[in-house]
Symmetry: C2
Amino acid sequence: VERFKFAAMSNPILVLGAGRSATVLLDYLNDLAQKGNFRFTIADADEKNLSSKTSELPHADGLIFKGSEVSDFASLIGNHKIVISLLPPPLHPKVGKACLETRSHLITASYESPEMREMSKEISEKGLIFMNECGLDPGIDHMSAMEIIHDIQSKGGKITKFTSFTGGLVADEFDDNPFKYKISWNPRNVVLAGKGVAKFLQNGNVSLIPYHRLFDEYETISVKGWGEFEGYANRDSTPYAELYGLEGIKTLKRGTFRKKGFCDRWNVMVQLGLTDDDTNLTFSEGATYSDLMEAFLPGFKTGQFEALSAFCGNEKIASDILDLGFGGPKTEKLDRTNGKPADYLLDLIVKKWVLLPNDKDLVVMNHCFEYKLEDSDYQTVSSFGMVGDNSIRTAMAKTVGLPPGIVAKQILNNQFKQKGLLLPLQQEIYSPVLKELAHFGVSFFTTTRPLS
Amino acid sequence: VERFKFAAMSNPILVLGAGRSATVLLDYLNDLAQKGNFRFTIADADEKNLSSKTSELPHADGLIFKGSEVSDFASLIGNHKIVISLLPPPLHPKVGKACLETRSHLITASYESPEMREMSKEISEKGLIFMNECGLDPGIDHMSAMEIIHDIQSKGGKITKFTSFTGGLVADEFDDNPFKYKISWNPRNVVLAGKGVAKFLQNGNVSLIPYHRLFDEYETISVKGWGEFEGYANRDSTPYAELYGLEGIKTLKRGTFRKKGFCDRWNVMVQLGLTDDDTNLTFSEGATYSDLMEAFLPGFKTGQFEALSAFCGNEKIASDILDLGFGGPKTEKLDRTNGKPADYLLDLIVKKWVLLPNDKDLVVMNHCFEYKLEDSDYQTVSSFGMVGDNSIRTAMAKTVGLPPGIVAKQILNNQFKQKGLLLPLQQEIYSPVLKELAHFGVSFFTTTRPLS
């Protein structure tokens, strides 16, 4: 651990990992530091990236940090009171253990892990707050849903159905490829999205969709003001029945939005096996994406369009996939000669689905509740959409970055009575966050109508 | 470790794990011990099972053994010269490490693992033999193929294509369910068969089939004297190009046989997601396989046959699956209320696909070679089939159990020049094994014809 400017001791907040999507969070913390007359610390492995960030942030100090063990994190954290970790989720348990050692609070935008749950008792005993799932999805989705759930329940309503979808997409003006998708967040997560089995409640039954059916079994959902989207189920929704205080609910489904046309095309990638992340494949130097396709579709190279059309059962989709770089005049060379299918696919979409400097991304969220109140049935729909400023100050960077910043401010000002391992599901947590988010343009449009 | 009869010191051979499929191996070793005037040891966790085995084997001593750590295995092995491990494959690396400590030879019928490969140098340095893949498949398939490969190559032939399929099935007289399948080996492996991505060489290209397409993309292969079988690709065949000395071969595929009708039906299980082994599912007491199906096929319970027919696109298959226990008058209760889908499916097939005491199993193997010799093209087909005696002395127990026994005899008699981490691919290994196997009915029918 090499010090950059100042001793970290003087700084209450440490941001771990300063990738592209950290920009808005860092600006927020810089403003906070200016108003509060303190400094904050950014730790990152990449010296150049770090200098470029801190040079624009007069109240930030940079630390080059390359460790990955609990003891590395603990000596990095030192006297920082609050840690916001933007590191890859598998590192969070180690950061958590370090925070227990240094008696620091921890905020992440990632799913609460079983390892983190094992620390729960010690977190509480030490009077600390570890708040996960505090970004966009999971994060703002929880907070905005809980505000409505608590409102319905306070009136005596009983919620029977709740579905919630969120998408990190590209604004209509800039969605100029047939997948209608550009990359506004970690591209590896785009390639691996939906891996495993999706699980949710449907009409009183647990429902499971295996990965190979996920992009085939999407639903189409209209979001007022933003158009129609394809929604597929995301991970395991069932624990949220209890977490949201919706025990006995019949339908509960959290999901992901894509624009119309994406799922049918991505489904072909899944059906072919191109998203596999386990099997090594080697090619000779100079091999192309057409060679890669041949591995999944024998005979492809001798009749690309025919072979792919037959596989897809759809000529337009086949031609769109060829155009992505798999065949025809747009065939791309492989960037590596050794890797998993998912690696090769990642290389391609990172090149093809670039959010250009002046492109704008789009975040869309839609909640739908059905509930019974005094013998009548109602439906409440609540949605929000946001277009980013450009490829740096994206809607994604805002909605993922601001909640951890606001939570950090609240902790710094000692505003939360609750301590321990938390999700942003309690009013004392979500209310101030949602209130402040509204100033940044995160405002929900909510309508309620009786169900006949 | 409790001693049963004699000190293990006097015994040169230790068999680890004495499940049902060990019977034929144990008989073979008992004969060997009688002829050689020595005793051998069987170690198993189940005292009752152990006593029933040793009571029928006058030359065997039993040891109750419940350990699972290297040190447990090492003290169990002690002075035994040769260990034959029939334990679950994940335990083999620990058994291997113990054998390095005790300087014992090791024989298994399981695939050589990366962990075992890490021990390769030490195995050689200590002059030991660790021989894996020494059962039926992998095992007899390697040995019988290598005999033909070496024969073709010794004449100057160049092999361009090699496919090899093996099936552990049930004899025609007793295949009285629509899946034409009964369980003659580890039933969990039947449920999880094919998980991962199958990889092989096809016309000079590497070809991959993801799990969800595996049971849809089988081929139909006729085996002289035994009928037609469905063959699907098994694991990664590509390393065998080098291992078999077939560098540059265009097509190389190892696969698994099922009887006609199996793959289309099993494919429905895979498509539904019922073979998933990752996601926990809980049910209330008294729930049935119809409730389980509902989780994968919403609406199933309100119209079983219609829902399943629509999913399968085939009424006969839908009705066969209902009859297996998922619906209609044959609906089965769940045996557990908590488990993965694969656990529930396992419970069902263990009940429904029982090899009854007088049922006979069937093992079928088929190799097909194409090669060029003096400017002509030839095809050699070599196959063998064996029907078991009954549900105990199965063809599976014979073909999995005899090769390790014969290899143990060869090691005991110091017949192998080669030492180290071995597969049964060299003539000095496979020749005596195949020769002795022929006395037990494992004999191949081989024909060669010119290809026009």
